[in-house]
Amino acid sequence: MRTHPLKRGVPLVTISLLTAVLAMVAAPFVGPTPLSMRDVFSATQPFADNMDAQIFFLARLPRALAAGLVGGTLATAGVVFQALLRNPLATPYTLGISAGASLGAMVAITFGAAIPLGLPFGGVTGASLAGAGLAVLVVYALASARHSGLSTTVLLLAGVTMNAFFSALILFVQYLSDFTETFRALRWLMGDLDVAGYQPILAALPLVVLALLAFSWLARPLNLMTLGANAAATRGVDVVRSQRVAFFAGSLATGAAVSVGGPIGFVGIIVPHLVRLVVGADHRVVLPASFGVGATFLVACDVLARTVMSPLELPVGIITALIGGPFFLYMLISRTRAI
């Protein structure tokens, strides 16, 4: 394995994180409605009567922050799952967590009346978190049932099976639901960052922070674990514990991100590979840089989502796939040629 010295990594990480912050700050200035910036930042006008400020602070800023949080979180979760499963095709959604979250959301959308949740955010957010939690527990129970540690093979197979199983349940719930519900459910699956306030972000933030703290602890063990479990163990890594932490923290991050924006695709697979192509494989660099690049990417995609067809919304998941897919292929091919 080639490891880049941190000397080169630190500036790249700094640049990516600064770009992300810049993107989140700049994004609210762009939008379908022309805003007077003098009004937006007016100290004299009361906020309740200041529509420009309301659009800026209540509609656009929360969206930009949500996009940054979700994009960064999905990208880092992708890095962790690729390292944990030692599989470059792994995504945050490989282990069925998003399918579980989606099932929760579908149930809440279809049978909303039956779930009287006294939460500060919508019942769909809570239900998707609950669904993600359920999926995590089932997959973990399966993968650790007959092994002292986590078997990555069983983890992968259990995850793929749970994905299929939850997808079947999602279809079943959709079949029971009615047209507007089916439409809203389908729309939820395409990803939507129009959070209409800060509550969904605040609800997910503690979970994301917890997961990111775990990721920072994981960086070194993950570096060694990519060599294989035995090689890592001989270098003093508690492999089983690291796998557990990676699995639960990655799942927590994924569940939190999906509860905010729905299962937005591609961010969790393109960004990690893109970042590795540039900065190498050292997780101490790849993880924070992926957060910055993922955040920037999704903020940019969401700006397109809300402007391109305005006043209609374009689902952000469609944009991430349309831009991300070809761009990733281009990077792959041009890099391969260079090598």
Partner: protein
């Protein structure tokens, strides 16, 4: 309660899936009036019963709940899952399908059963469809009487609204429970938009040439509706309705400030059938209702 929900939203499906043709292409021209009709559209079923063709109806869609007599007929599936075998077993001599049920129409062509396709359109198409059904089922006089009653009723509502200021209104079909996310609203096309305009409201999304669209929070603030009408909440208990209504309190739009948020849970409102005058009156009442004190 569940079936009531199904009905309302099932009807809404049809409203939203609308085109503009009315009672269209007949695959075969029958010699006499049909005696065994299967209707796959709740609005058409209602019309048939209202013009006195009820006794000729032998099968209805899974979403039919009105009139009560219609519920006694065998159910043959819905928009997406019509049951061809059950339809055949009823030995119909006319099947009225929805415009998008191409597969069913093809299947029926293979038999000797005549079929008519129907699509929801605008408000004016309702009476046109009723008259066409009257012709087809040999209830011309009843159909004409009903159509005229509806036209007079609608004209009364239009008259009442004439000359009054037009409150800027947002018509909501769906959203995430307990939050303002995922707002799904009426654009400037279709029967519900027509009803709102007739009732004296101005649709804030009238410039979008679609039946329904997802509304972003930014657009909600920009469009700043004076009145919000939510056509949902079928069978909700009072406390849930109050809770969902309170969600709007945080929205910084004129309707929230004046308290003009109305959640209407009346399944007839979204069915473009004979009860449309009642729907128009209900919406007119809400549009012109004085704001309750905050």
């Amino acid at each position: 309660m569940r079936s009531a929900r199904c009905t309302v939203l099932g009807a809404l499906v049809l409203v939203l899936g609308a085109g503009c043709a009315v009672l269209g292409a007949q695959s075969k021209t029958p010699a006499s009036a049909p005696a065994r009709i299967v209707s796959l559209i709740p609005a058409v079923t209602e019309m048939l019963f209202a013009i006195g063709a009820g006794p000729q109806v032998v099968g209805v869609s899974s979403f039919d709940t009105y009139p009560a007599e219609a519920t006694t007929r065998p159910k043959v599936g819905g928009l997406f899952d019509p049951n061809f075998e059950r339809i055949l077993s009823l030995r119909p001599d006319l099947v009225i399908t929805y415009g998008s049920q191409d597969e069913l129409v093809q299947q029926l062509k293979g038999t000797n059963i005549p079929s008519s396709t129907y699509r929801h359109g605008g408000l004016g198409d309702i009476t046109a469809t009723i008259r066409a059904l009257g012709q087809r089922t040999d209830h011309i006089t009843e159909a004409e009487t009903l159509a005229q009653t509806i036209e007079t009723g609608l004209a009364d509502v239009r008259q009442r609204a004439a000359g009054t200021p037009k409150p800027r209104t947002l018509l909501v079909f769906g959203r995430e429970d307990g939050s303002l996310r995922g707002l799904f609203v009426s654009g400037g096309v279709g029967f519900l938009h027509d009803l709102l305009v007739l009732a004296g409201g101005e649709n804030v999304m009238a410039d979008v040439p679609r039946e329904g669209l997802q509304l972003s929070h930014e657009q909600l603030l920009v469009r700043a509706p004076d009145v919000v009408i939510e056509l949902r909440g079928d069978g909700w208990p009072a406390d849930r309705r109050a809770r969902e209504r309170a969600v709007w309190n945080d929205a910084r739009i004129p309707a929230s400030r004046s308290g003009r948020i109305h959640i209407l849970n009346d399944s007839s409102l979204v069915i473009p059938g004979p009860r449309v005058v009642h729907a128009a009156r209900t919406i007119a009442d809400v549009v012109f209702l004085q704001a309750p004190p905050r």
